[in-house]
């Protein structure tokens, strides 16, 4: 039986997880840069994740559908951008249906998504600081020039692209092995599984591959940045360990 409380919680989670495309309004506003939208949407999702740990979840189909349409639009927008910041928040909006649909597994899925997006945020800041903007398209040859950054981008994007043994994939698999499939479930899971994969592979191909450009002065990570990325990777590893434990409980 659907109570008012469930409806209210669904509305809250829909808004916090990026189930409605509020980025359209923020992008039009002059006071919000791509970086700010990334921070706002990330913070809201984190709030949603924290709240969901303390509440009982039950999703409502209509809310899942709304977030699904937002996700489809976000996938489209993600294929149009070459900016790491924009890409970051598009990923948040793309994965909103998972947060709502996966219920208790959705919180962990979104948490690991947030950690990998934190990595993308750190990469975006690095690009902005050293190459003038967070646009990755014209800074090719990173794998050959600064392999460490190449490794980090690869790890973050592969995590988002839903590959094991990284945590997003593990929480995703835990949910799909654990739930009853219906038509809506199938459509959402297939679309977002393919969407996350295609967008991350597209970015991976355009960012880490390519020959070294002699006109670019490549800069490697400094000690502080290395520590930041190391912390993010360790967090992903910890989440992976928890994810493996979760999935093997089912096995």
């Amino acid at each position: 039986m659907i109570t008012d409380n469930i409806v209210f919680l669904n509305i809250v989670f829909l808004l916090l997880s990026g189930g409605v495309p509020y980025f359209i309004l923020l992008e039009k506003s002059d006071s919000f840069s791509a970086k700010s939208i990334f921070i706002v949407s990330g913070f809201l999702l984190l709030t949603g994740v924290i709240i969901s740990f303390f509440t009982d979840r039950e999703y409502m189909t209509s809310f899942v559908l709304v977030s699904f349409f937002t996700a489809l639009y976000s996938i489209y927008r993600a294929t149009q951008t070459t900016n790491f910041y924009k890409l970051g928040y598009y990923f948040i909006f793309m994965n909103a249906p998972f947060f709502i649909l996966f219920e208790e597994h959705g919180a962990f899925y979104s948490l690991s998504l947030l950690v990998s997006l934190l990595g993308i945020y750190a990469i975006a800041s690095f690009y902005e600081k050293h190459y003038g903007s967070a646009n990755y398209l014209y800074v090719r040859g990173i794998t050959l020039a600064t392999p460490l950054i190449g490794i980090h981008i690869t790890v973050y994007l592969i995590t988002i692209g839903l590959y094991p043994p990284l945590p997003n994939s593990l929480f995703f698999l835990t949910h799909i092995f654990n739930s009853e499939a219906n038509a809506l479930w199938l459509v959402i899971v297939i679309t977002l599984y393919a969407g996350n994969f295609l967008v991350s592979m597209r970015v991976l191909e355009k960012s880490i591959f390519g020959k070294k450009n002699p006109n670019i002065h490549y800069v490697d990570l400094n000690f502080k940045e290395k520590i930041t990325h190391f912390t993010i990777i360790v967090s992903l590893v910890l989440l992976s360990i928890y994810g493996v434990k979760e999935i093997l409980t089912w096995a």
Binding site: G141, E180, A181, K211, K212, I247, W250
Partner: protein
């Protein structure tokens, strides 16, 4: 003590982790090779344990198993891994990303070990996907090359498709049979096989596993990723053709008891495998790039492998993939030397395509030779039937025997012809020598194959043949076999023993069209580009 063997999938991960911290370049291959030798030794000990105790090693709460299949495949992969690492030590020395290469190589080996030793569908799913991403990063290793990256993208798309189909199959398996544990599932499937299964979900699950296997094993129409990844470093090509591409066959072997319930899936596998084998073998003859040619050869062999599974010869598929893997890996690792020789001699490699489709050989013409070749086409069948009658008479109880017979004949005839061409003697002594060596080779081959079958599946192998039995009468199957033999015999006779008048040497239009179809690789890219432009 024996449980230590189950740590094998973790060792390459440990190696990769260690390599990350090694500063001296010379130490990277050394550490990798020394620790990989440990895997090979552990694998051999595991095989010894399984054979001598006639028992499986199960551990990690039943998630991993070192069973008969692992006992065959893990040492094979471990030794292959050692050879590839050793080869790569010098081959990759001057390449950028030496450390990255060895790290990725170890990751992909970890996923292969995990896949082979998994006893749980979830672990299998993890290994299955881990391999896709490892392969992508290895194929795109040459990050500066646009074509390498483009081909890696295609590889990734097809493998991601395989991952998704596999995940769907796992979910449906759990919903239909209620377990992820392969040992539990095997028992369930064996019980179910005693009565006819009508549940459409079982058929769907079987089809999904076949589809996933087809994608990973480069079966037509999912084959294109394999020949076009030849730009990858040669050790990667060797690994792909001898290891990665075989996982479809390994998966279907793990699902063998499920496929007993779905004879239709086996029949589909047979048809698709047969088509792939013929189509890819013809493409192999016409492509000009030696590595791509080897790629199509592998696609053809994978077609044979899937066809064997379609006939219920699951253990034969394992035998085939090992023998083919060793052969193909050595060819790949040798391809560099051939290219070196080809730079000096314009006749290397031989223009096989021209020879087969356009040139007519006019060297021999004698009624004696005609009689000899007639004898050579009959003798292989007689020898094969004789050996099978001695070793496994029950083989003839199933219709699948007829198809295997047809292929045995084809291979036997080819072998005889090669012997004959080499010897160039028509004497009775030479013929006797050829026949006796053929008998010895075939007997050893059949004996090893049969021992493997007994080792892997025991008496259950008969269940597979029974399930795969084609719905045709023995008479019609024999008629088809005779037809294949007559057509094949006429082709060989025409190709090798008829002198054609000079004016007929000019190729006909139909021959050119056929040649063009093959050179264009079945118009695969044209069709794809047309569909992209909306012309289709």
């Amino acid at each position: 003590m024996e449980k230590i063997i189950l740590l094998i999938p973790g060792i390459p991960i440990l190696i990769a982790f260690l390599l990350f911290f090694i500063r001296k370049k010379e130490l990277i291959p050394k550490v990798s090779i020394i620790l990989s030798s440990m895997i090979a030794l552990l694998a051999l000990y595991g095989t010894y344990y399984v054979i001598s105790n006639d028992a499986q090693i199960v551990g990690f709460n039943g998630l991993l198993v070192y069973n008969e299949l692992s006992a065959i495949l893990v040492p094979y992969v471990a030794i292959l891994g050692l050879v590839i690492r050793k080869y790569a030590t010098k081959y990759m020395w001057d390449e950028a990303g030496y450390r990255r290469f060895f790290i990725l190589l170890n990751f992909i080996f970890a996923s292969i070990y995990l896949l082979v030793m998994s006893n749980n569908l979830i672990v299998l799913a993890l290994a299955w996907q881990l391999m896709s991403v490892g392969l992508y990063l290895l194929v795109s290793f040459n990050v500066g090359s646009k074509t390498a990256v483009k081909n890696a993208r295609w590889t990734m798309y097809i493998h991601k498709g395989a991952d998704f189909v596999f995940l769907l199959a796992v979910i449906l398996t759990y919903q239909t049979f209620g377990s992820f544990d392969l040992l539990v599932l095997k028992e369930k499937w064996l019980v179910m096989s005693q009565s006819p299964v009508t549940d459409p979900m079982v058929l769907t699950v079987g089809l999904l596993y076949l589809l996933a296997a087809m994608m990973k094993s480069a079966i037509v129409p999912f084959h294109i990723w394999l020949p076009y990844t030849s730009e990858a470093p040669t050790p990667v090509s060797g690994l792909m053709h001898a290891g990665v591409v075989n996982v479809g066959g390994i998966l279907l072997n793990k699902m063998a008891y499920l496929l007993i319930l779905t004879p239709m899936v086996l029949n589909i596998a047979f048809v698709i495998g047969l088509f792939t084998a013929i189509f890819a073998s013809m493409l192999m003859l016409v492509v000009s790039d030696i590595k791509r040619s080897l790629g199509y050869s592998t696609v053809g062999q994978m077609g044979y492998m899937i066809m064997e599974i379609g006939l219920g010869a699951f253990s034969l598929a394992i035998y085939h993939l090992i023998v083919h893997g060793i052969f193909k890996a050595s060819l790949f690792l040798e391809s560099g030397s051939i290219i070196k020789y080809a730079r000096k001699d314009p006749n290397i490699p031989e223009r096989l395509s021209h020879k087969t489709f356009l040139e007519e050989n006019t060297k021999y013409k004698s009624s004696k030779t005609f009689k000899l070749i007639a004898l050579f086409t009959i003798v292989p069948v007689v020898v094969f039937i004789g050996i099978k009658m001695i070793l496994a008479p029950e083989f003839f109880e199933f219709n699948a025997a007829i198809v295997i017979l047809a292929f045995a004949w084809l291979t036997g005839t080819q072998l005889f012809l090669s012997f004959f061409k080499v010897s160039k003697f028509d004497s009775i002594k030479a013929i006797f020598g050829i026949i006796s060596s053929f008998i010895i080779v075939l007997f050893s081959y059949e004996f090893i194959g049969l021992s493997l079958e007994h080792f892997l599946y025991g008496h259950d192998s008969l269940l597979f043949y029974k399930a795969a039995t084609l719905n045709v009468t023995l008479v019609s199957a024999l008629l088809v076999l005779s037809l294949v033999m007559i057509v094949g015999w006429l082709f060989i006779y025409k190709q090798h023993f008829i002198t054609l008048p000079a004016n007929k040497e000019k190729s006909t239009k139909s021959k050119w069209s056929f040649y063009k179809l093959l050179v264009k690789e079945g118009y695969y890219f044209e069709i794809f580009n047309s569909s992209k432009k909306g012309k289709l």
